[in-house]
């Protein structure tokens, strides 16, 4: 089982996030591995571990590779992935890729998966449900379309037919928009998992130590044989025109309940024509 996880480096949700010149500000030291990609890494690790435990593969077989498309500071995300136990970390970096939109991002990630697949077959690509900066939730779908692979999105539960089954079917349960669905597809496939799919593990001491010095592979667009027209600002199908902070909210009216708090709340709503 060889699994590629795509993981994004994003501004920490607990910091002041913003824009400068229509680009997201990425302050060194304030970015993290997109939390929802920890669920993707966890799902991938568990699939490989389950296969080893069941004896489907040898104790050292199976590999989880994380790919991120980012500038050099994206290494923060890869180091975190190493701490969680992934085997390889690849950063795709190139000035020509700056300003990529969803399609450009998916094209680059797809090229990286293809390159990995040319070394040795890739069985599965796992992604998070959304990047917490843009909250698009579309890169997994586009990645599947670019790779021409079946895509199972927003899994809450993931089941894989055991090694040795005639077709390795991946089955997911998803609950979205008040609809519960069971979907299945044969490997190789693209899978995105939600934050309800699992509880990401805490890194162990040994892995934390090892992660500091573990090698990060850096690939350029030339390494991926990418056509420069698909990615970067030049290939983007949207152009950001403006980005402005919203005006601050006025000071809130705060009432401490001394027996009349509910009446005050009702009064606020009625007085402001909100009922």
């Amino acid at each position: 089982m060889r699994i590629v996880v795509t993981a994004k480096y994003v501004p920490d949700i607990n910091t002041e996030r913003g824009f400068q010149d229509c680009r997201v500000v990425r302050n060194a030291g304030e970015g993290t591995l997109n939390e929802l990609d920890e669920n993707a890494i966890e799902a991938a690790l568990r699939l490989v571990e389950a296969e080893r435990e069941s004896g489907g593969v040898g104790p050292d077989d199976g590999e989880v590779i994380v790919v991120t498309m980012a500038g050099t500071d994206g290494d923060v995300a890869l180091r975190k992935a190493f701490q969680l136990g992934v085997d390889r970390g690849i950063r795709v970096s190139d000035d020509a890729l700056a300003g990529s939109d969803y399609f450009g991002t998916a094209a680059v990630l797809a090229a990286a998966v293809r390159k990995l697949g040319s070394e040795e077959p890739v069985d599965l690509v796992v992604t998070g449900m959304a990047a917490l900066d843009g909250l698009g939730s579309v890169v997994p779908t586009l990645l599947g379309a670019e790779l021409g692979l079946p895509t199972l999105n927003l899994a809450k539960k993931v089941e894989l037919a055991p090694a040795g089954s005639p077709a390795r079917m991946l089955t997911i349960t998803r609950e979205i928009d008040d609809v519960t669905e069971h979907l299945s597809a044969p490997l190789p496939a693209v899978l995105s998992v939600t934050d309800a799919a699992n509880q990401p593990r805490f890194p162990g001491f040994k892995l934390i130590m090892a992660a500091r010095t573990k090698e990060i592979e850096v690939w350029s667009s030339a390494d991926l044989g990418l056509d420069s027209a698909v990615a970067g600002a030049a290939g983007a199908r949207t152009e950001t025109l403006s980005a402005a902070p919203r005006p601050e909210r006025a000071e809130p009216e705060i009432v401490t309940d001394k027996g009349e708090g509910g009446v005050a709340l009702a009064d606020f709503l009625i007085r402001n024509d909100l009922v």
């Binding site: 949700i13 607990n14 996030r17 913003g18 824009f19 229509c22 929802l36 939109d101 399609f103 959304a130 917490l132 843009g134 909250l135 698009g136 939730s137 579309v138 779908t141 586009l142 670019e146 999105n153 979205i176 928009d177 008040d178 609809v179 519960t180 669905e181 069971h182 299945s184 597809a185 044969p186 496939a189 934050d195 199908r237 949207t238 152009e239 025109l241 403006s242 980005a243 402005a244 902070p245 919203r246 909210r249 006025a250 809130p252 009216e253 705060i254 009432v255 401490t256 309940d257 708090g261 509910g262 009446v263 709340l265 009702a266 009064d267 606020f268 709503l269 009625i270 909100l274 009922v275």
Partner: protein
């Protein structure tokens, strides 16, 4: 106004949700509006579409390898996307609008991929500027407003609920339903089962409601007071993720749950964690009820009561019912 054609997705076609009426209103500001459906619209639906000025409904006749595609499969994003792409080619449309949901994002992405179209997710406004489609978005938990222009010929845009006030057209028309053939590619994905949760609450859907009352860990599992206030206000009920993961309530508000932008959001026993704020901070008015005067939700609210929610909510509900009658 240009002679642009705008397609609006109508799925299902058995009801017109408020979010679709809002879309139709936004779409009329961009050009000639037509609807795309995967099943026959009902008579009531046609009447509503007519009131909103829709003259044509394109109804897909789905086929795969010569066999008809029917039932639940029709709602799979790949099938809906193939339909939208075919409808764009048929009508030479310039813009496709969908109401935002997780399924719609998948559909929009696939349709845009097939059409080579530009894609905007979660727009709060769509307008034309100098011949280009420009979408407004609220990002970073509602802290920033951004605008982006689509640079391709075709634009696919998902639009958040409550982005516009639904407004019928000046003059009603009689819509005509026209069939069109859609060839669906064979799919390696099998739909084993699909179940739509029946909603018997009589409350508006959480993602579209004008008023939302949400309960968190502070309810300690008792959503009675939350439901009581919601019903007094005709509101939808939501939860924090912690409350939902405890099994106290189904649907939760936030970055990984449902994004809401109602006129009024009332959070009770919810601390206001960044992940939660990301899904509700674009609300017009934010009200909090929390026993801790230091709760972070107070930083983003307009009105707050520091107190026990089990006391405050029922009293507010009773007062509203009293002053209404």
């Amino acid at each position: 106004m240009t002679n642009r054609t705008v397609l609006v997705l109508l799925d299902p076609a058995t009801e017109v949700r408020t979010s679709v009426l809002e879309l139709l209103t936004i779409a009329r500001g961009l050009g000639r509006v037509e609807a795309v459906a995967l099943e026959a619209p009902t008579v009531e639906v046609l009447a509503q579409l007519g009131a909103y000025g829709i003259e044509t409904v394109h109804q897909a006749e789905l086929a795969r390898d010569g066999a008809c595609v029917s039932g639940d499969e029709r709602h799979l994003p790949a099938v809906v996307a193939a339909t939208l792409a075919a409808a764009v080619r048929l009508t030479d449309a310039d813009v496709v609008l969908l109401p935002t949901s997780f399924a719609a994002k998948e559909t929009a992405a696939l349709a845009a991929h097939e059409l080579g179209a530009g894609l905007v997710i979660d727009a709060a406004a769509v307008r034309e500027v100098d011949g280009r489609i420009v979408a407004g978005k609220r990002v970073f938990a509602g802290a920033w407003d951004t605008e982006c222009a689509v640079t391709t010929d075709v634009a696919v845009v998902t639009v958040r609920a409550n982005s516009a006030v639904a407004q019928p057209a000046e003059a009603a028309v009689e819509p005509v339903t026209e069939g069109f053939a859609v060839e669906v590619a064979p799919s390696p994905v099998t739909l084993l089962s699909r179940e739509v949760k029946a909603d018997t609450s009589g409350r508006p859907p959480l993602d579209q409601a004008a008023v939302v009352v949400a309960g968190g860990r502070g309810t300690d599992g008792d959503f009675g007071p939350v439901e009581d206030l919601a019903d007094a206000l005709g509101a939808a009920v939501g939860a924090s993720r912690d409350a939902a993961f405890e099994g106290w309530w189904d649907a939760y508000v936030g970055q990984t749950g449902v994004t809401v932008a109602p006129r009024v959001y009332i959070g009770a026993g919810i601390s206001g964690a960044p992940h939660h704020r990301g899904g509700m901070q674009a609300s017009q008015v934010i009200v909090a009820v929390n026993s801790d005067p230091e709760a972070p939700i107070f930083e983003i609210c307009d009105f707050a009561v520091v107190g026990q929610l089990a006391d405050v909510l029922p009293q507010a509900a009773a007062e509203i019912r009293k002053r209404r009658s």
